[in-house]
């Protein structure tokens, strides 16, 4: 078990399953024996708006939110949302991006432009950038709502001190019986992505 604090920031759009994904990460870290805290905002902000969830783990965690410049891994469930939270990353932090574009209302109305060069911008500043097509994986897994689990699969590869079995056990405990299988498939495909 590592002693130092680790910070993970999940970002995306309300309805993408971000809160459940961060809950699963926390339970994995608890199982390993870390102290863990997570934080997000509920309520009005969730109605299709930008959503984040901070996960922090280590020997002893105080703040449930990370400060800017201190996040080890940014997991972005939507491309544009990646840009919004880049300033939270450490200079040597890594980014896992779901290759999905969800247009905010201003873009739908033609009042704003969806940036075209998001991946290039991210790569310009950060060395490790993993792009995952989580929606494709979810379709392959047989349930479009497993995209968040696919992202967790991709994350698990980079947290290699934690056994895959721990992840799978937590996943089994986190979903209703009838969708466990689909989520395990999505997780495995996410690991290979």
């Amino acid at each position: 078990m590592e002693n130092s604090m680790r910070n993970i920031l999940l970002a995306g759009v309300g309805g993408q399953g971000i809160l459940l994904a961060s809950e699963i990460i926390c339970k994995v870290m608890m199982t390993v024996g870390y102290d863990v805290k997570k934080s997000e905002v509920h309520g009005m902000a969730q109605r299709g708006g930008s959503v984040t969830s901070h996960v922090r783990y280590g020997k002893k965690v105080f703040s449930p939110i990370a400060q800017k410049g201190d996040v080890d891994i940014l997991i972005s469930f939507e491309k544009l949302e990646t840009l919004r939270y880049l300033d939270y990353l450490k200079p040597d932090g890594m980014v896992i991006i779901n290759d999905e574009e969800l247009y905010p209302l201003s873009v739908n109305l033609g009042d704003a432009t969806y940036p075209e060069d998001i991946l290039e911008t991210v790569r310009k500043h950060f060395e490790i950038v993993k792009v995952v097509n989580a929606s494709d994986i979810a379709v392959k897994a047989g349930n479009i709502r497993t995209a968040n689990t696919a992202m967790l699969g991709a994350l698990s590869v980079y947290l290699d001190t934690i056994g895959v079995d721990i992840w799978k056990n937590v996943l089994r405990e986190s979903f209703p019986e009838k969708i466990i299988k689909e989520n395990l498939i999505a997780f495995n495909l996410g690991r290979k992505a």
């Binding site: 309520g43 109605r47 105080f62 990370a66």
Partner: protein, 596 residues
């Protein structure tokens, strides 16, 4: 056994563990889950009251009967409950009474950022403030002990970050619950006529004196002496932020923020060279310390507004770090929250926006309709304000306001604070039009029941308020019911009611699209026929998330060739997001929108 819990879940658990079996409140972010979670435990009574004032009075009644009772609300809810609050401070309780106030620094889901620690001082009620979920569970128990011991209501102050962050909590077994309720007559204590109140008033000051002494040795007012160059006095979530960035400093962490332990603070101050007071919002602790003559630094360096984070605390004390990469030059379109696809509010506010009336609004999801492109709301102050304001505006404008003032209020908000102002409209002969957006639930806080849904918090079937009958009994002149999915009828009814003399109410009735229980029929998603779309953009005026604008220049040639007209693009519906409400179909004069 350990479990990952939110602060709100931990309060519910702690209350249950220490034998609380009675709670009342009104939903409001960030407090809602406390009562929802509490209501699931065996043997408890939990209710959604119509508003926080009623909730506090209900909990007070239970406490006077000898129960341990909890009243739960968000920060602005305490404003509504303030009337009983200040006098319950005088009467005390037979049992025990804890009031939970969940404040919202940064206004994540609120209309103001008031610091409810001021209520503790104002109403002379002790207040505890936990910093994480474990403390939330511990402190709710301590709060009930203090309430019992000192015969006082006790505040437990949460903030959004404590309520909605999750951390590890040690579960304990609930204590055996004894029924301590019975009727005890004690008019001298509970009948607050001046004669009795003057006697109780003195007792309140005596109680505060005792509580100040109690605070001096209260173990949750905790001193951590490390390096003595800097001492930090703090409470609640800011303690965590400070510990994160300044682990080497000495700390006085106050578990009780009112009253303050003066001797303990002076003793701590004598041990450290420089003192910072780290607190969000008002300089509540800081001002009291300065009044004691202590040399402390607070709002000179810390912001008054918004919640903190570790970075804010670090920057305030050490100055700005220049290690951070600046990404501010990136052009990132904002992503504010929006009404859901198929939201029944959309049709109503589309019509209101086009009518160019002044729409006094209220608190709920529909408040989002003030934004582009609907622009269907002109004011939002507090729960229930829509009706009183519409009436006042219409009276002040006289003939100039005729047909131009509409008040809009949600069903739960109407029950919370709309009935009295509606009665006022009838009584004082108003010409305003009020719309109740009746989506059959308290949607914004996450689908809570209310007195017109037919179900209680604990899922029992019950009576259901009929808004039309109520309006009639109150004396409203004209009462109409519309379906906001029918744009044409919504428009014609609104026009008709606005042109009418006398008071008028329109009940815009359609269940929230997220409320599965009340969906009358399954709706089919729609698509745009690109050949028929004329690119007029009328459907985009609905601001519906699945509808987007696609320019021909961004499309492959083959998709565009059939288009010979001068149009620049077409509307596209993301069918995976569409709920099939048909509003866009009704607006499309080209008949280009059809079922998938």
């Amino acid at each position: 056994m350990h479990e990952l819990m939110s602060g709100n879940e931990a309060i519910a658990r702690g209350a249950c563990e220490c034998g609380v079996r009675f709670a009342a409140g009104y939903p409001g972010t960030p407090s809602t889950e406390i009562l929802e979670e509490f209501s699931k435990y065996d043997g408890v009574y939990a209710e959604w009251s119509p508003n926080e004032k009623v909730g506090l009075e209900v909990a007070t009644g239970a406490a006077v009967a000898g129960a341990k009772a909890m009243a739960v609300m968000k920060h602005v809810g305490v404003n509504v409950a303030a009337d009983p609050l200040f006098t319950v401070s005088y009467t005390g309780t037979n049992g025990a009474l804890v009031i939970i106030t969940a404040d919202d620094p940064s206004m994540h889901s609120s209309q103001n950022e008031q610091d409810n620690r001021n209520y503790a001082k104002f109403a002379k009620i002790p207040m505890l403030e936990p910093a994480d979920s474990q403390e939330a569970k511990d402190y709710i128990k301590i709060a009930f002990d203090i309430s019992k011991k000192f015969d006082t209501p006790v505040f437990l102050r949460m903030t959004t970050r404590v309520s909605h962050s999750k951390s590890i909590v040690k579960l304990e077994n609930p204590v055996d619950v004894k029924d301590t309720t019975r009727i005890r007559h004690n008019p001298a204590k509970y009948v607050m006529v001046p004669f009795n109140a003057r006697i109780r008033r003195v007792k309140v000051e005596k109680r505060m004196e005792e509580l100040r002494n109690f605070a001096e040795t209260f173990p949750e007012n905790r001193v951590e002496i490390n390096n003595t160059d800097v001492g930090i006095i703090t409470a609640g979530m800011p303690y965590n932020y400070a510990k994160d960035v300044f682990p080497e400093c000495s700390y006085l962490k106050l578990g009780m923020v009112h009253p303050l332990p003066v001797k303990l603070i002076r003793e701590f101050a004598s041990k450290v060279k420089k003192i910072y007071v780290v607190e969000e919002l008002d300089p509540f602790i800081e001002e009291q310390l300065k009044a004691l003559g202590l040399d402390v630094t607070g709002k000179e360096v810390f912001p008054y507004t918004n919640e903190f984070d570790p970075g804010v605390v670090k920057t305030a004390i050490e100055g700005k770090s220049d290690n951070l990469v600046d990404f501010s030059s990136l052009k990132i379109p904002p992503r504010p929250p929006n009404l859901c696809p198929g939201c029944p509010h959309r049709g109503l506010f589309y019509v209101l926006g086009k009518l160019k009336a002044f729409v006094t609004g209220d608190i709920g999801c529909y408040t989002l309709s003030f934004m582009k492109p609907l622009e269907g709301m002109d004011s939002c102050i507090c729960m229930g304000a829509s009706i009183g304001m519409a009436h006042g505006m219409s009276k002040a404008l006289k003939d100039k306001g005729k047909g131009k003032v509409v008040g809009v209020i949600g069903d739960s908000t109407f029950i919370h604070s709309g009935i009295t102002p509606l009665l006022n409209m009838a009584y004082n002969r108003s010409n305003a039009v009020i719309v109740i957006c009746d989506n059959r639930t308290t949607a914004m806080t996450g689908m809570q029941e209310h007195p017109a849904t037919g179900f209680t918090l604990q899922g029992e079937e019950t009576k259901s308020l009929d808004f039309a009958v109520l309006a009639s009994v109150l004396g409203i002149d004209s009462i109409k019911v519309i379906d906001p999915y029918d744009i044409k009828n919504t428009r014609s009814v609104m026009k008709e009611e606005l042109s009418r003399d006398g008071s008028s109410i329109v009940i815009s009735k359609r269940a929230c699209v997220l409320l599965k229980r009340d969906q009358a029929y399954a709706m089919k998603p729609l698509r745009v026929d690109p050949d028929k779309c004329t690119g007029c953009k009328v459907c985009l005026g609905l601001g519906c998330p699945p509808i987007s604008w696609k320019k021909f220049e961004d499309m492959p040639e083959s998709d565009v060739e059939k288009k010979t007209k001068k149009q620049e693009g077409i509307a596209v519906i993301d069918t995976s997001l569409c709920n099939g409400c048909t509003l866009c179909q009704q607006l499309c004069s080209a008949g280009a929108i059809e079922e998938v």
